[in-house]
């Protein structure tokens, strides 16, 4: 109802062909003993074929739940999808029966999880685990499925794949297991690859390898990649566009350069400012004050308000929308970018710039 969405598409009709995945106003809640957790509260974004989108946020921001909702892997009680549409490859997938969804999962849409050791079944060989998926979706015989599994292993750079395929998950290192998960996800040549914190559980050097691998694969297979992480560095390297999530909402979105170099939402600003850089050497570490709000006790209007250095009383009364801010596709959920915040806008942006460059070089407080 404001100048928020770039080209508003009416609900109910499919997005244009080049958009592979479009999430519209998704709301997923969890009913638990102590109340309701609004894990995903009105999230929208879209992803074109062959492109990459990063979802960045702290734990509890709702990023993993978003991914699981897209795959429809949530256990329906306690989870509940309250509202929203998800369009994948021209179909709305929240309303199709689960059997139909199973045909898509692993086939057109695949997911890589965070913990490769526990995500692989310990009593079956990795070859078996890849082959069963191939057999199911591609309708091929066992022998051919096995051959394709070995192919997939080769694709992800595992040496002597035919020998490795007969091994069990515990016989491999962490990095190799993650490669296996990637191979498994790719085995049926999916159009969309969702990677949920794929490198968090790995050593730093292995992280780099895996990310490199994902990039290569993506180039080669032209599948779209939805990368979920809390690590801004990963995002900087890997994706075209990024959305930042906080407490279940999208607080900023845009291209990676726009959001990381010129953030317009205070939360994003805080994240970027807290990265230690050379310019800040000698000063104090910058942190975002306060803590992430409990999901049962969210601030009534702007959810970031209690911790925001730029807040004023409007922020306590009216929840902000996603306003256009900064670059052409960039949006930020902050009143600074609404008409009412006009007067304060520049001061905030300047302050951020100051925090980034001058820092606290001589130990003086802000």
């Amino acid at each position: 109802m404001t100048e928020t969405l770039t080209t508003p598409t009416p609900l109910g009709s499919p997005p244009p062909r080049e958009v592979l995945l479009e999430v519209r106003n998704l709301k997923t809640h969890f009913k638990v003993l102590d109340g309701i957790v609004p894990a995903v509260d009105g999230v929208s974004f879209s992803l074109k074929r062959g492109e990459t989108l990063g979802i960045v946020g702290e734990s509890g921001s709702g990023k993993s739940v978003t991914a699981l909702t897209i795959m429809r892997l949530l256990d329906i009680p306690p989870a509940e999808i309250l509202d929203g549409e998800i369009w994948f490859d021209g179909r709305e997938i929240l309303s199709i029966p689960i059997d139909e969804m199973r045909k898509i999962r692993g086939n057109d849409m695949a997911m890589i999880f965070q913990e490769p050791l526990t995500s692989l079944n310990p009593v079956f060989t990795i070859g078996d685990q890849i082959a069963e998926q191939v057999e199911l979706h591609l309708r091929v015989r066992k022998k051919e499925a096995w051959a394709r599994a070995v192919e997939a292993l080769k694709l992800v750079g595992i040496p002597s794949p035919d020998r490795r395929a007969k091994q069990y998950p515990h016989e491999m290192s962490g990095g190799m297991r993650q490669r296996v998960m990637i191979a498994m996800a790719l085995s049926c040549e999916p159009k969309l690859l969702i990677a949920d914190e794929p490198t968090t559980a790995l050593d730093v050097t292995i992280q780099a390898q895996i990310l490199e691998l994902l990039k290569t694969i993506q180039d080669r297979t032209d599948s779209a990649l939805l990368l979920i992480t809390h690590d801004l560095g990963v995002v900087a390297e890997m994706v075209n566009d990024v959305i930042v999530m906080y407490a279940g909402q999208v607080v900023e979105q845009g291209t990676v350069d726009e959001v990381l170099l010129e953030p317009h939402a205070p939360y994003t600003m805080g994240l970027i400012e807290s990265i230690p850089t050379v310019e800040k050497r000698g000063g104090r570490l910058s942190v975002i004050s306060g803590v992430v709000p409990s999901p049962f006790n969210l601030p009534p209007a702007c959810r970031f308000e209690p911790r925001c250095p730029y807040r004023w009383d409007l922020c306590r009364r009216v929840p902000p929308e996603l306003y256009k801010a900064g670059g052409p596709g960039q949006l930020a959920r902050c009143h600074l970018h609404s008409p009412e915040g006009e007067s304060r806008r520049q001061a905030a942006l300047d302050k951020h710039r100051e925090n980034m460059t001058v820092g606290r070089l001589f130990g003086k407080g802000s």
Partner: protein
């Protein structure tokens, strides 16, 4: 000056704001932290089954303690000859649990008297077993090496024997069917410690290596203090849970050997030997005679199991309050 106010956990920030505004004051929020025991008690209270179990067990204990006073009859009472019905009589108003065959005793009285002995045997033997087990396990776990190996071999051998069988043999040979409850307690106690010793030992082994013990040692805390303040409290929970299982097992075990005639002397009734005397009267059909003592056993064992479950949940530091 500052005033301290306690509020419920569900109070929202908005509420606090409002109250502060009304009072015209400012406020600071702090968290009250409960000790481990207070937390455990709270969790236990919420566990419905455990509470039910406690009530049941509590009633049995009360009955056991004051029972013979309130029992309707003297259990050794022998009725008038013309009153005797060979098969006994079923449950009636005067005899809620019925009367036995043969000597025509009131079953309720028997069950009440039996409660005393059976519960006594169950709990005392558990105490002995836990005591021996903790000591053996601590030595094995803490000293390690050859001593540990030796002790664990002994445990292995003892666990390979069919325990009930051995207890049976011992009960027969030492007691010859006229055993005193104390003898039975000792015999059961001597055969109940193995599981606990393994538990304690493994706790010692795992905790010995854990970081907070390293930290304590680094600060210079002495060995003995380490054991008592750091290691044993962690052992408390699994030992308590094991202990509850042991009580249940021993109550059934005692009933078992008394039932076979090798346990406690029939002049002091236990639920087991009541069942034993009922056995010969099966063809006559007086089902109430073995039924009620058996029911008592089931209830007590259930109660103990429930309490054990509740304790396990309550004492687990990771479960929520």
């Amino acid at each position: 000056m500052a005033e301290e106010l306690r509020v419920a956990a569900e109070t929202t920030v908005a509420d606090l704001d409002r109250r502060a505004e009304e009072a015209g004051a400012d406020y600071e929020v702090g968290l009250e932290s409960l000790s481990q025991w207070q937390l455990a008690w709270r969790k236990f209270r919420k566990h419905r089954l455990a509470l039910v179990g406690s009530v049941i067990l509590g009633s049995f204990v009360v009955v056991a303690l004051i029972g013979p006073i309130i029992a309707p009859f003297e259990f050794l009472n022998v009725p008038e000859p013309d009153q005797i019905v060979y098969a006994g009589r079923g449950p009636s108003l005067a005899h809620p649990f019925g009367e036995t065959g043969g000597l025509q005793r009131d079953v309720l009285t028997l069950v009440i008297n039996g409660a005393r002995t059976s519960l006594f045997i169950g709990f005392s033997s558990m105490a002995i077993g836990v005591f021996i087990g903790t000591i053996v396990g601590s030595i094995a776990g803490y000293v390690g090496g050859f001593v540990d190996n030796l002790l664990m071999r002994v445990v292995d051998v003892m666990l390979s024997l069919p325990i009930l069988f051995v207890i049976l043999v011992f009960a027969r040979f030492f007691g010859n069917g006229r055993g005193s409850p104390l003898l039975i307690v000792v015999i059961f106690g001597v055969f109940s410690w193995m599981g606990i010793s393994r538990l304690v030992r493994s706790l010692f082994l795992s905790i010995r290596e854990r970081e907070f013990v390293e930290a304590a040692k680094a600060v210079g805390v002495r060995d003995r203090r380490i054991i008592f303040r750091h290691i044993l409290p962690n052992a408390f929970s699994p030992i308590v849970v094991s202990a509850s299982l042991i009580v249940a097992a021993n109550i059934i075990g005692e009933a078992f050997i008394s039932f076979l005639g090798f346990g406690v002397d029939p002049t002091s009734p236990t639920w087991g030997n009541i069942l034993s005397s009922a056995l010969t009267f099966i063809p006559v059909g007086n089902w109430w005679w073995p039924f009620f003592p058996g029911l008592a056993i089931i209830l007590v064992v259930l109660a103990v199991n429930f309490i054990g479950d509740g304790l396990r949940d309550a004492l687990d530091p990771r479960s929520r309050a």
